[in-house]
């Protein structure tokens, strides 16, 4: 009994520890979302929320359904692997309603250098230019056809 009386104060500290731990569990119960850990180390309900968001991209096949001529030009050129919406932006609204929603006109002087500005980090065989020296500020489409950009026989394709 004497031993307990003289070590009872240690239990007080242990109790403080226990109270803090229980408080932690209570707070955790309220702040951690219910669906956390349902599928993995994230909030399970996030999947349904993301899936419910409106889709902004129409997809390559939707573009090709109407723009068959451009699709054919593109397929024959260097940009065959570049999807339409990579340059034109997300156009699901245009695909759903072609008459009333028109895609914005693109400025090729700005658009093309996003990929083709010279950088030592890019592979050597990737076409890249220092735009200011290469075109002197002219829009790229003055010489290059954006859908099939290689210049053959001196004319724009």
């Amino acid at each position: 009994m004497k031993t307990f009386r003289d070590s009872e104060h240690l239990l007080r500290f242990a109790l403080l520890f226990a109270i803090v731990f229980v408080l932690f569990l209570v707070v955790r119960h309220f702040v951690v979302p219910r669906s956390f850990g349902e599928y993995g180390h994230y909030r399970g309900a996030a999947i349904a929320e993301i899936a419910a968001r409106p889709i902004h991209f129409a997809g390559q096949s939707a573009c090709e359904t109407c723009h068959t001529d451009i699709a054919a030009t593109k397929k024959a050129g260097m940009h065959a692997g570049v999807h339409c919406e990579a340059c034109h932006g997300p156009l699901a609204s245009h695909a759903a309603n072609p008459a009333s929603v028109q895609p914005p006109k693109l400025d090729t002087a700005v658009l093309c250098v996003r990929c083709h500005a010279a950088s030592a980090a890019k592979p050597k065989n990737f076409p890249q230019v220092a735009a200011a020296q290469h075109s002197g500020g002219l829009a790229c489409e003055t010489c290059h056809h954006p859908h099939s950009p290689a210049i053959q026989g001196g004319g724009a394709k």
Partner: protein
């Protein structure tokens, strides 16, 4: 591009880990070092350093409270830090560290301090009135038993807590080294020696800090500095500093001998951008000079006043060395490109939230907290109940 030499990948031009990430391992290291000094008394029975025992514990607590602040300030959204406690991921070293931190704070430091000061707290509560009495009653957690047997229980429990505390202190600071050592993409950091070097430099910095704080506070209080105490601390500082220095040199020699693909780049950096902070500040001024001074003291007998002056100078230089080491690791590791073809420059802010002023504030803040702690729980040896000057520290 300004500040960039040669070729850098775009994401390497600006440093992501700022001076606050330099302060973080520095402050954490001081905690571990101060605690190891305290453990010398309890576990290793080095009675000469007993006058610094309680001060070392309070110093460790003051710095531990501040340790996460540089991280929180650096990351922004400090309220999110609780996420790592609520939903920890076992692959996140940072989350695991959060638990080590809480364990160290609650189960080791607070418990040990409480046990050691319990008698003082109860006696103060008994002899005071009003709010002060209430505060000390709260601190005692309502216990009022300071019988001889109860104090013997405290002593025994304190010994066990310190024993658990030593590996915990190593774990706390070993983690900080681990964070850097495990980044395999960065050859300046990726080394299994990193946690070990961090622990030893932590011990050195913590011991030097407590030495300085003890000498300063004793002087301010108009008391005599206990020379056997500071002589012994300086001796341990000297021995541990030698191990720390040898480990760092081993790492350096290993890098030079292996000379892998990163070596040319790192060697260039050490000879240019890091020359002042690594070669001049860390190695010459911060390590060789104090080692020489402390070494001379071991073989020659100077007067106490000369020894005290040498200890203060050496301890201050040790702090310069360890802070420089943290700087060289954290900032140095981000100055060169992974392509090994270029170097960038760290532009430190002044009044920004990650600038010089904030770093200095966070480094000095623990001293302010220590001041408050010392006011609440005076750690002075002569205040310890039953202290006898004739028997001096041997009773502690």
């Amino acid at each position: 591009m300004g500040g960039v030499e040669g070729y850098m990948y775009p994401n390497e031009i600006n440093l992501y880990w700022s001076v606050l990430i330099v302060v973080y391992p520095y402050v954490t290291g001081l905690v571990a070092g101060a605690f190891i000094l305290a453990s010398l008394v309890r576990i290793f029975n080095v009675r000469e350093v007993a006058p610094t025992y309680r001060l070392a514990l309070l110093t460790a607590l003051a710095f531990l409270i501040v340790a996460p602040l540089p991280l929180l300030l650096h990351l922004g959204h400090p309220e999110r830090c609780f996420e790592m406690y609520f939903t920890p991921h076992d692959t996140s070293a940072m989350a695991m560290f959060g638990y080590v931190y809480i364990w160290y704070l609650m189960a080791v430091l607070l418990f040990e301090i409480w046990l050691d000061f319990r008698q003082d707290i109860i006696l103060t509560a008994r002899s005071s009135t009003g709010l002060k009495r209430l505060l000390y009653r709260l601190l005692s957690l309502g216990s009022n038993n300071i019988s001889e047997h109860a104090l013997a229980v405290d002593e025994r429990a304190g010994w066990i807590v310190t024993l658990i505390g030593i590996p915990s202190a190593f774990l706390l600071h070993g983690y900080v080294g681990f964070i850097f050592g495990s980044i395999k993409a960065n050859p300046w950091w990726s080394s299994p020696l990193m946690p070990v070097v961090f622990i030893f430099s932590a011990m050195v910095s913590g011991i030097a800090l407590v030495l300085m704080v003890y000498m300063f506070t004793t002087r301010v209080r108009g008391r005599q500095i206990d020379m056997p105490c500071v002589d012994t601390i300086a001796k341990y500082l000297f021995y541990i500093f030698i191990i720390d220095f040898v480990l760092e040199m081993l790492d350096l020699v290993h890098r030079i001998y292996v000379a892998d693909e990163s070596f040319r780049s790192i060697s260039f950096m050490v000879h240019t951008k890091l020359y002042f902070s690594q070669i001049v500040l860390q190695i010459y001024v911060g390590t060789l000079v104090p080692l020489l001074l402390l070494g001379i003291i071991q073989i020659t007998r100077f007067s106490p006043s000369v020894r005290k002056a040498i200890y203060v100078v050496s301890a201050a230089l040790v702090e310069v060395a360890v802070l420089s080491m943290r700087w060289n690791v954290v900032i140095g590791g981000q100055l060169f490109s992974k392509s090994f073809l270029g170097y960038t420059t760290y532009k430190i802010g002044l009044i920004t939230h990650e600038g010089v002023f904030m770093a200095a504030f966070l480094t000095l803040l623990p001293l302010g907290i220590l001041w408050v702690l010392v006011k609440i729980l005076p750690p002075w040896p002569e205040r310890k109940p039953g202290f006898n000057h004739a028997r001096d520290a041997s009773t502690l």
